[in-house]
């Protein structure tokens, strides 16, 4: 009986792993999403970072088929004490599952980019604070789920505090 349960548990762990239980998002400078050695995107078009006005690049990790993973991004801001939100464009970068995140938020206020990713049944999320010099890699947070509203608020407050 116990042996059967062990086998079932092991099977569930392996199955979860195969379907992307280790699925996470990773970020990098826009240059990571427009590599010279791979000058075209997954759909065959050349990557043109200038046209994209990319803030940073994002990619999936631990997804068996990165081309089928879904990623979306929103800019979450605090402008004059009021919460704002804006959908961001994701443009294909070099390689499957690689995207460039457009810089489509106002210059006023403080902003974090909320990333949401799915790979089969697995979920992943990230919060990427934006500073005066661009995205702040060191303060970015990565989750094996979507970031909550409370976590976004905390990140914005931390940024606003630092900006004062």
């Amino acid at each position: 009986m116990v042996r059967n349960m062990k086998h079932t548990l092991m099977f569930m762990v392996l199955a979860a792993s195969a379907f992307g239980a280790d699925f996470t998002l990773a970020i990098g400078s826009p240059v990571a999403g427009s590599l010279p050695g791979a000058p075209t995107t997954s759909d065959g078009a050349p990557v043109q970072v200038r046209k994209v006005n990319a803030s940073f690049a994002v990619r999936t990790e631990g997804c068996a088929d990165p081309a089928t993973a879904l990623i979306s991004a929103t800019a979450e801001g605090l402008v004059n004490g009021a919460r704002q939100s804006a959908a961001l464009r994701l443009l294909p970068g070099t390689g499957p599952g690689v995207y460039l995140v457009s810089r489509d938020w106002p210059t006023q206020g403080v902003w974090v980019v909320r990333l949401i990713g799915t790979c089969a049944n697995a979920k992943a999320g990230a919060l990427v604070p934006i500073g005066p010099g661009g995205f702040i890699r060191e303060s970015s947070k990565f989750f094996p789920r979507f970031a909550t509203e409370a976590e976004i608020e905390a990140s914005l407050k931390s940024l606003a505090g630092g900006a004062k």
């Binding site: 990773a26 970020i27 990098g28 400078s29 826009p30 240059v31 990571a32 427009s34 590599l35 010279p36 050695g37 791979a38 000058p39 050349p46 990557v47 043109q48 970072v49 200038r50 046209k51 690049a57 990619r59």
Partner: protein
């Protein structure tokens, strides 16, 4: 021919040849030919033909001249002072043709429209020549001075030659300066630029800088926020034969992001130093799956390229 008109058979004595009358048709044709040769051509008719031929020729030349292929050229806009194109001062706008020089003095600057793909601003005290203006090759030569280029195009369409390197645009924005000997600096603000020189290549991403030097070509790129000690050691290694001491300083000063510099250093040190560089890189950023130490130390091109693509996520 009747029998009495036939020539006699056998030997004929002189003076005994019979006289035979030629047919009238022969005489008529001879007379007609003689008349045709001696009759002068009507003068008016000849001049008219000559004039028509001349008109046709002139018209053809004019048509060709007005539709002849123009030498390729790009638009130039004066930004400040009195820049010149060729030997003429530039008005507010003008054109620079292939082979022509654009020159600015201490108080002038200009902007060149690079076909349909971008712009180049030419700073004061610069000399720039248009080398090629083709759809698949947009090429300038920067003899001295400084330019800033903004290009939005697929990689390897825009090139800038300097005395010690060729900057190959890989979809980017950058500033580049050089003196007449080739000593200069490239600073990339968006995307990537490859600096090439006699088989050597430096890949410079946004935020990074690369020096060039006469005879030596492009040095190793580094991020602008790298420590001053790393930058000095790199200059010593690249251009002053700094050797092992300079390498040690670079390794000690490197952060995760400086794996850009170390990745270039790998292929510019001897095999003894190479393993030291590799070990430091792996300390800073763990080796990804599928990349082997042996292949890297052998400088296997494909393995190096794949590793750089992973490292770029830290740059």
């Amino acid at each position: 021919m009747r029998d009495d008109q036939k020539p006699p058979l056998g030997p004929i004595d002189p003076g005994q040849l019979p006289v035979v009358k030629a047919p009238d048709a022969i005489w008529n044709s001879i007379v007609a030919s003689l008349n045709a040769e001696s009759e002068p051509a009507p003068r008016g008719f000849r001049w008219w033909r000559f004039a028509a031929a001349c008109s046709l020729l002139i018209g053809t030349v004019l048509l060709w001249y007005s539709n002849r292929p123009q030498p390729p050229s790009w638009e130039v806009v004066r930004l400040d002072g009195s820049p010149s194109v060729g030997s003429k001062p530039l008005a507010d706008t003008g054109r620079i043709a292939v082979g022509e020089w654009l020159q600015t003095d201490a108080s002038s600057s200009a902007r060149i429209q690079i076909g349909q793909i971008g712009t180049v601003e030419v700073e004061p005290n610069s000399r720039v020549r248009l080398i090629a203006a083709k759809p698949n090759e947009h090429r300038l030569s920067l003899a001295r001075g400084e330019i800033s280029a903004v290009v939005s195009a697929p990689p390897r369409l825009f090139f800038v030659d300097t005395p010690a390197s060729t900057a190959v645009d890989l979809g980017c924005a950058y500033r580049m300066k050089t003196d007449e000997s080739g000593s200069g600096l490239l600073r990339v603000t968006v995307g990537w630029v490859a600096l090439e020189w006699k088989g050597r290549e430096s890949l410079v991403p946004a935020g990074a800088i690369c020096r060039t030097k006469s005879e030596a070509g492009p040095g190793i790129p580094y991020f602008s926020d790298a420590s001053q000690a790393l930058q000095d050691a790199l200059a010593a290694f690249d251009f002053e034969k700094g050797g092992s001491e300079a390498v040690s300083m670079v390794l000690g000063e490197s952060r995760v992001r400086d794996t850009l510099t170390l990745w270039h250093l790998l292929s510019r040190v001897d095999s003894d130093e190479r393993s030291r560089v590799f070990d430091r890189m792996v300390e800073l950023a763990p080796l990804p799956q599928g990349i082997s130490r042996e292949k890297i130390l052998e400088l296997d091109k494909d393995t190096l390229r794949r590793w750089s693509q992973e490292l770029a996520w830290k740059w």
